[in-house]
């Protein structure tokens, strides 16, 4: 926040400075251009004036003269003076003195122009008189006799005029200059000559003084004098102004320097603040990536590091065995100290060549990432890690504690998950202290399949795709279908049929199992109600020990009022609660149910059941039946089971009767019932008698 404030302050200063300098600059520009313009105006007038003088002098000398130039300079003098009067600097009250000087120049300029005007008029007359006299004088020789004194008079007059003109001095022509005197004896022609001559001589005599004085006025320096005094006043004021401007420039430079200093200071300050900020950020970064307790890297950093699998890492995941108990026993603070000690202990010297990185990834879990380590070396390292911890005597607050660790070694992605799985594996095996993750463990795969299967079953239940199939069981003696076994199936979305072997073992570990049982119970009871065949349903120990499920079963059994339901007991080796099974059988027998023992002849089949439980039918395992024609041992077992059941008075069912040969054999042996593809495949609808082709 402070930083932004500074930046704001800084930009304020810079823009302020820029504003001052730029307005000062524009003022200075305006001022100096005004000064220049004023001086130029003055010098134009000076030029006009001197050009005019030159022109006037020339025109006074030459007999005839092109006056265009004179006219031009008169006009220029007038307009340049008007221009000077309108100079913008004169509006400045500081220049009032200059302005009054300029105004005083006005009558001088007007006088000058007026004088030139009058000069041009008189000059025309004087010129024409001279021209006339110069032309006429020569005529006198012819007109007058050579001894006529008029010649002397003419010569005297002309000498006077020409001297006066050459010297431009009016004193040469005074009132005493005598005109030609006429004589009564002169002829008319002579008299006219004298009249004309005198007309011009008189003009010269009368106007020459005026002419000279006008020339003198025109040649007078009054305009330039006034201009230079104006210039002087102007210079005084403008020098003063320039000086002020210079002071101001100095002031601006000083201020700029100070501001520049402040800016530098602020920049340094900002740089320092950036430094602090960077330090804070470094600290934050540290906190983000490190474990507070042990100062090792934390799980976040671990995940960051392995997120981009550019490097081939070997992970050693170390779990402190029974840490919870240590914590419970000694308290958290000691537990923490223990963890800190372990964090130091695991940083073995030998690991250094594998570019190790140490992490605390969980409460009691450490991870070491190693690079370029062989499987063999990894095992050795894990072993020495385990030994180091195991042999270390942790003395905390005078208590000596010994702990052991389990170490999972893994190079396969996902690193942590695979190692975790391996650790779980190790924990089940007390003698193992470290283990390399093996792809064949395939934990992941299993978990994935399990999850998929559970999802599949859930969906099937929700969408009513759990169906019951019925497989016929033939009475070999009567050659008649007497019973049906109810079998669970899932119809998949694409119409294919799943057998329970693919899903039931997984589902058994979940609550979905009892849902499936419920569906089966419902379906079979419905079927039994409307058919006279006997129907058998499979129950496991899990079903029987599920009291709420059994309550539902018995209430439905009672309300359906059927007596043609049989129970097949599954997984007989796991009938661990015999008394419960006994109670169940007693209860179910009241509803006319027969009890079948499924899959007899495999596993740890317990003959003691037969003494404890009221078994009605013995179902010989399909794996025996299937091979009676090829495997004599199996045939002997089959025969033994048959005789045994005969002996204890139970009926027998042979499963997996797949062909006529098997059927014939079991018929000979004297088995009560046959079940299998040879008799009929499981089907959602019951097979009719006609379908049996034996």
């Amino acid at each position: 926040m402070k930083l932004y404030k500074n930046i704001f302050f800084l930009s304020l200063i810079v823009s302020g400075l820029f504003y001052i300098i730029s307005s000062f600059y524009s003022y200075e520009q305006k001022f100096s251009s005004e000064i220049k313009s004023f001086r130029a105006s003055i010098s134009y007038i000076e030029r006009d004036n001197s050009d005019l003088k030159y022109n006037i002098l020339q025109s006074s000398i030459y007999a005839y003269y092109n006056q265009d130039e004179t006219a031009k300079y008169v006009n220029l003098l007038q307009s340049d003076y008007d221009h000077l009067k309108n100079e913008s600097i004169l509006d400045d009250s500081n220049y009032a003195d200059v302005k009054s000087h300029v105004n005083q120049l006005s009558p001088i300029v007007n006088d000058k122009i007026n004088s030139i005007q009058k000069y041009l008029i008189i000059n025309a007359g004087i010129k024409n008189s001279f021209i006339f006299l110069s032309r006429e004088a020569s005529k006198s020789n012819a007109l007058f006799s050579s001894n006529d004194p008029i010649h002397l008079q003419i010569t005297s007059l002309i000498t006077t005029f020409s001297n006066a003109r050459r010297i431009l001095d009016s004193d040469y022509i005074d009132s005493n200059v005598n005109l030609l005197s006429s004589d009564v004896n002169y002829t008319q022609e002579q008299k006219e000559f004298i009249t004309k001559f005198n007309l011009h001589a008189a003009y010269l005599k009368n106007n020459f003084k005026e002419f000279i004085s006008l020339v003198n006025i025109i040649l007078e320096n009054n305009i330039n004098t006034k201009l230079s005094s104006t210039n002087k006043v102007f210079d005084n004021i403008s020098t003063h102004d320039t000086q002020i401007l210079n002071y101001f420039t100095f002031f601006i430079i000083t201020i700029s320097s100070i501001l520049f200093g402040i800016i530098i200071f602020l920049l340094i300050k900002i740089a320092n603040e950036n430094k602090t900020l960077k330090a804070t950020q470094t600290q934050l970064d540290y906190l983000l990536t490190h474990d507070k307790l042990t100062s090792l890297f934390n799980r976040y950093e671990f995940e960051q590091l392995v997120a981009s699998p550019n490097t081939e890492y070997t992970l050693l995941l170390i779990n402190v065995d029974k840490f919870k108990q240590v914590n419970d026993l000694y308290g958290n603070s000691i537990g923490n100290i223990l963890l800190q000690e372990i964090s130091k202990l695991i940083q073995l010297e030998v690991l250094k060549s594998y570019i190790p990185k140490y992490f605390r990834v969980g409460g009691d879990e450490f991870a070491i990432l190693l690079q370029q380590i062989s499987t063999h070396d990894a095992n050795i390292v894990a072993n020495s890690l385990s030994n180091t911890i195991l042999s270390h005597d942790f003395v905390v607050s005078d208590i000596s504690i010994h702990v052991s660790v389990s170490i999972a070694i893994n190079q396969e992605y996902p690193l942590l998950e695979n190692a975790d799985m391996t650790l779980k594996h190790i924990k089940k095996l007390p003698e193992i202290r470290y283990m390399f993750f093996d792809k064949k463990m395939n934990f992941l795969e299993t978990i994935k399949t399990n999850i998929n299967t559970i999802n599949l079953v859930e969906d099937a239940i929700a969408e009513d795709r759990i169906v019951t199939f019925y497989q016929p069981i033939l009475n070999i003696k009567s050659k008649k279908i007497e019973k049906y076994e109810a079998l669970v199936r899932i119809i998949e979305k694409d119409g294919s049929i799943l057998t329970p072997y693919t899903f039931l073992p997984i589902v058994q570990q979940t609550n979905l199992y009892q849902d499936i049982t419920k569906i089966m119970i419902e379906n079979v009871l419905q079927k039994a109600k409307v058919n006279s065949y006997r129907f058998s349903i499979n129950f496991s120990m899990q079903d029987i020990s599920n009291i709420p499920l059994m309550e539902i079963f018995f209430s439905q059994l009672e309300s359906s009022n059927v007596s043609n339901l049989d129970i097949e007991l599954l997984e007989t080796e796991h009938l661990y609660n015999l008394s419960m099974v006994k109670d169940f059988i007693l209860k179910v027998k009241k509803f006319g149910c027969n009890i079948l023992i499924d899959d007899f002849g495999t596993g740890y089949s317990n003959f003691s059941y037969f003494s404890e439980l009221e078994i009605d039918i013995l179902k010989i395992d399909g794996s025996i039946t299937k091979e009676i024609n090829h495997n004599s041992k199996k045939l002997q077992i089959f025969k033994a089971i048959s005789s045994f059941s005969d002996a204890i008075g139970t009926k027998t069912i042979a499963e997996f009767v797949e062909n006529r040969e098997i059927y014939k054999t079991i018929e000979e042996i004297g088995i009560t019932y046959a079940q299998g593809y040879f008799i009929g495949k499981p089907s959602p609808i019951l097979l009719e008698e006609d379908d049996i082709t034996i």
Partner: protein, 309 residues
């Protein structure tokens, strides 16, 4: 002694370089504006009665840019107070009007438009009148990039037209440039023109138009009535009968002559001038030669007048 006198007079009269300059060829002007000015110059729309145009008193086609009448007639046939000077080559005059009261052509053009006995219009009248014309609106838009016609633009266009009214290549100009010869009489006329003193006032490009002079230097010029001379502006008695020296360009076409139009022919005006301004009497032969010279001053018709508007 006689020879002495003659030598003396050689010293008295110093001859300078040629006192007359030819009219420049291709004098610069803005043609588009000048053409608009041409139209305005010819158009009586600029008078309050829609009856009088600039051209009414400045006959640019056959009157040498001046008026054949002694004085001009404005709106309601009101009489002017002085002989209308020519508008041709006016750009080379140092001031405008007989008494030089206008510093330049812009000031001059303002005069007759507002004069109650000439065109009798105010600025607003002119702007309003022209704005009613679709043609003028589009012409001003095209040239001055404006939707509202301003009086200053009207003046500007007229002045630009007047700048185009120059008459170069007179026989005399071509003689000065060495392109053409003149007859002996004409050359003699020019020599006389200089020798007797006409050149004192009639010099420069326009043979005049570059100074104010008093009519009646050697003998008082008696006017029939009051004319607006320089005295009427300055009230300085020295300036009584002081007028701008008129140009002699195209002089053969601008009769009648003098400020009062009192000289009907060139001969009359040469006689009057030599009497009042030179104080001498010229012989018939001399006068004829000078008149012949004056006739060599007729220039070409201004090019712009050949344009169609």
């Amino acid at each position: 002694m006689r020879y002495f006198v003659l030598t003396l007079f050689f010293g008295l009269t110093v001859f300078a370089k040629e006192p007359i300059s030819p009219i420049p060829l291709n004098a610069p002007y803005d043609k588009q504006k000048a053409l608009l000015g041409y139209r305005l110059f010819m158009d009586p729309i600029l008078s309050s009665t829609n009856s009088v145009a600039c051209a009414s008193c400045h006959d640019i086609f056959s009157g040498g840019g001046a008026d054949r009448n002694k004085v001009s007639f404005g709106v309601y046939n009101k009489k002017g107070n002085i002989q209308s000077p020519t508008v041709l080559n006016a750009r080379y005059n140092f001031k405008q009007f007989w008494n030089g009261r206008a510093q330049d052509l812009y000031q001059q053009a303002n005069g007759p438009i507002h004069n109650p006995v000439e065109l009798n219009m105010t600025n607003k009248d002119v702007e309003k009148e022209l704005s009613t014309s679709q043609l003028y609106r589009s012409l001003f838009l095209q040239i001055y990039k404006t939707n509202t016609i301003q009086f200053s633009q009207v003046i500007d266009a007229i002045v630009e037209f007047e700048k185009a009214l120059t008459t170069p290549n007179s026989r005399f100009d071509r003689y000065l440039r060495g392109e053409k010869s003149l007859s002996q009489d004409e050359i003699d006329g020019y020599t006389l023109f200089k020798q007797v003193g006409c050149i004192t006032c009639h010099n420069g490009i326009n043979l005049g138009g570059n100074s104010m002079q008093k009519i009646g230097l050697f003998e008082e010029y008696k006017n029939q009535k009051n004319y607006p001379d320089l005295y009427s502006i300055t009230h300085d008695p020295d300036y009584k009968n002081v007028f701008k020296v008129p140009t002699l360009r195209n002089i053969s076409q601008t009769a009648p002559y003098l400020h009062d139009g009192s000289a009907k022919t060139l001969k009359d005006s040469v006689i009057a001038m030599s009497r009042y301004q030179l104080g001498s009497t010229l012989s018939n032969q001399e006068i004829e030669k000078i008149v012949k010279f004056l006739k060599t001053l007729d220039g070409e018709t201004p090019k712009i007048l050949k344009e169609k508007i």
